[in-house]
Symmetry: C2
Subunit: 222 residues, 2 copies
DNA sequence: TCCTTTTTGTTGTAAAAACAACAGAAATGT
DNA sequence: ACATTTCTGTTGTTTTTACAACAAAAAGGA
């Protein structure tokens, strides 16, 4: 735990807390660390979620499997992101998603249920904590709406341009590196990988974009 | 305001508060009521959002326009739902969506910014309020993931079956009424209306579903 | 380095969707 | 009740996509 103390301290979920407050919170939450390897399933659809998961390092995909067996990537999470935070506060805490580790990860686990019951009003830091959670959830919400925008475009071309434009805006530059490999990007945008590759090449030929592997340059305003 | 007192009191955002607490909060938030007619734009993309909007009655669509001019319906909101709650807590409070009134609506408006600055730690009810907001946002988050699941299916048929199956589950019955008309449903699922109508008829002919207008019966487990 | 595996790109074909144009049904207003 | 408007369903055609099979490039290991 000590090894990760600095990372934990810098996590947005503990934003604005002094060391002594953080210590108190970690104790209150019965905090623990768990390591996962790439390929591991962290949360499986149907699991009951009562704990808060904070990614300290590594990479995690939030996925769904369609009834017909296709993989849907909802989002890709990294350091400081929370996994399935929205489920902790829900009435139905049964997970509706799978969380798959895609790069070796270290996860901080907080026993929210226990703490929340124990110090609903007692723990004076709980207020700041829940404010932080609210902010994090807000951000995730905005990201989900952005994803909906991306995949709601009518053609592969429009999906790619919208996605790349949003990434460019987030990076505040027309040169940026994307987080997905081609298959993952296709699963994120719900399109066929080979058709997507074809369209990417076409956009490159037309001079609208340029790319090499995951580094992209967007040459147009979309 | 008095006219809507009971409705306000029953709103999840004030859950668990006694009358005197509610009164104090409403004052603290400089609460006001605003009426909208069907067709009105409540929030326009780019607006700075600093207030909390609670729907007391009526219906509101959350929409985006794609760069190429197509309408995308993100979700349909009703009584007790909040509009753009996630933006209030974000760093960038510029709205990324349009909120369009689809049935004459009454909206409760709370000045969150003012209150939040004023009684960050002072107002003792603020804690309960933010906990409620967290819950609401959690629920919305789960709904957005559900929408992503719906529109991520690969064919019109699968989108319809997934959507209807989710609706059936929410209503805990295989007979249910949907909230969208055909054009809205098409815009929600990002498909062509006429192609959707065709597929619905086909599903009916095959006996998988039955429907009349917005009342549906799902005859299969998806 | 060379071999193997993984990732990405290309092409042709079959399937699915969008689109347009229209017909029928239902809702609305007078 | 009738006319008008809105909503829903149908059909044929064009466009787009998925899929399969393979080629090329990159990454990883011995």
């Amino acid at each position: 735990m000590q090894k990760y103390y600095q990372k934990i301290k810098n996590s947005p979920i503990f934003y604005g807390m002094a060391d002594f407050e953080l210590d108190r919170m970690l104790e209150c939450f019965k905090a623990s660390i768990k390591n996962y390897e790439a390929g591991d399933t962290i949360i499986r659809r149907g699991d009951i979620i009562t704990k808060i998961y904070v990614i300290l390092e590594g990479e995690v995909n939030i996925e769904k499997d369609s009834y017909w067996g296709r993989r849907i990537i909802i989002q890709k999470l990294h350091e400081n992101n929370n996994i399935a935070l929205s489920l902790v506060a829900s009435k139905n805490t049964e997970s509706n998603i799978n969380a798959i580790c895609t790069k070796d990860a270290t996860i901080l686990i907080l026993n929210y249920e226990k703490c929340s019951a124990m110090c609903q009003n007692a723990c004076m830091h709980h207020g700041a904590f829940i404010r932080n959670m609210f902010k994090i959830l807000s951000k995730e919400n905005v990201e989900l709406v952005e994803k909906i925008e991306n995949i709601s475009q009518k053609s592969i071309r429009d999906k790619l341009l919208t996605y790349l434009s949003n990434e460019s805006e987030k990076n505040k530059s027309n040169m940026f590196e994307i987080q997905f490999n081609r298959q993952e990007l296709a699963d994120y945008l719900n399109i066929d990988r080979s058709a997507m590759s074809f369209e990417l090449s076409k956009l490159k030929r037309e001079g609208l974009i340029n790319y090499k592997k995951n580094k992209f340059i967007l040459r147009v305003e979309v």
